[in-house]
Symmetry: C2
Subunit: 208 residues, 2 copies
């Protein structure tokens, strides 16, 4: 599949991303996208073939966009605890910036088994898991981390906490008295981030 898109295509992709993230894939019609992008309805089919293929193109566009920052991290000269902290920070920021596409990927298509669509996503997940393993093994060898950790369950805890929080935005805004969207975003980057870091470190270090 082609990975290079022209300006018009990217314009469509970006607007589709916003609308999909706001209202979901099904709830967003091609006509809505066309109107928002100020193009003719037929252009989506013309450029991408179909609505489904537009989504595939969007996934491709966004995931090929993502550099492998996490891989680099595991080779930096930091102690394991600092690496975990940085890893979580990376995770959160990366997803925050690509919130739209992540939301679609994780919740709109997570239960479907259509291999073609998920292949790219799975590759991404596998790479991230490998990097996480490297970091944790290092900490275990140095005697800092406990050894009975199920590593594949770490990322669900990080991502799950983050997603659950940000997907129930109205509830937590009210609960935590966060009046504006900025206050909410700020809470994520400070309190929630710290909470997740604290949680994972506690899990890795704590001796029962």
């Amino acid at each position: 599949m082609k990975t290079d898109f022209n300006e018009k295509q990217i314009q469509i992709l970006l607007i589709a991303e916003t609308l999909f993230a706001e209202n979901g894939f099904e709830r967003t019609s091609i006509r809505t996208i066309a109107k928002a992008a100020e193009i003719n309805v037929a252009m989506v089919s013309y450029y991408f073939g179909s609505k489904e293929k537009l989504l595939e193109a969007l996934i491709l566009y966004r995931t090929s966009d993502l550099k492998i920052q996490i891989e680099n991290l595991s080779h930096e000269e930091l102690d394991p605890i600092e690496k975990i902290d940085k890893l979580i920070e990376l995770y959160i920021n990366r997803i925050r910036c690509n919130k739209g596409i992540y939301r679609i990927l994780h919740f709109e298509f997570s239960s479907e088994e259509e291999e073609d669509k998920l292949k790219i996503l799975n590759q991404l997940r596998d790479r991230n898991l490998k990097s996480l393993e490297t970091i944790i093994h290092e900490g275990q060898q140095k005697g800092i981390f406990r050894k009975d950790i199920i590593i594949p369950l770490i990322s669900p805890t990080i991502l799950g906490t983050f997603f659950h929080f940000s997907m129930n935005k109205p509830y937590f805004k009210k609960l935590l008295a966060l009046e504006t969207d900025e206050a909410f975003e700020n809470y994520i980057q400070t309190k929630l981030k710290t909470h997740i870091q604290q949680t994972i470190k506690a899990l890795l270090i704590y001796e029962s």
Copy 2:
């Protein structure tokens, strides 16, 4: 709103629940529901008024169904750590049994602010938070738990981890070499449950 439904209505509700959970609210048409329930399409409008109101009825049916087991727990004679363990077990089992409706509640309507629909859900969340606070405060007074915990962030960690894991079933089945659906369910009730309990306890107890 009425909370008592006749047999026919419940039959429709149960089938709708399954279909909504499997394919999402939007992707499930009234005709699909009618066919599965072996009734006429008009019956849904006749009994519930509309598709939206059918969902509202389903939420009502399921949440009024849920007894307040968690509230009872906080008054039992157990030490705080045991209570946390039991609380998490309760959470997981309760959601596992009502997976369909929880999936719809948390992901299909989590970003919408429509008060009417979420009112019941919010009440449920508030009650649960209160119970959790009671348990944690008890542990803090006894000097077992640390005092700088942000309690509202505990449930996102529990629920988020669980949801993220079970919503990415295909990926984790492959990753953890769980061949059958039963093996997957079993993994949740053993390994994942323990992982979450371990995580929360570590967070509450660990001194940095």
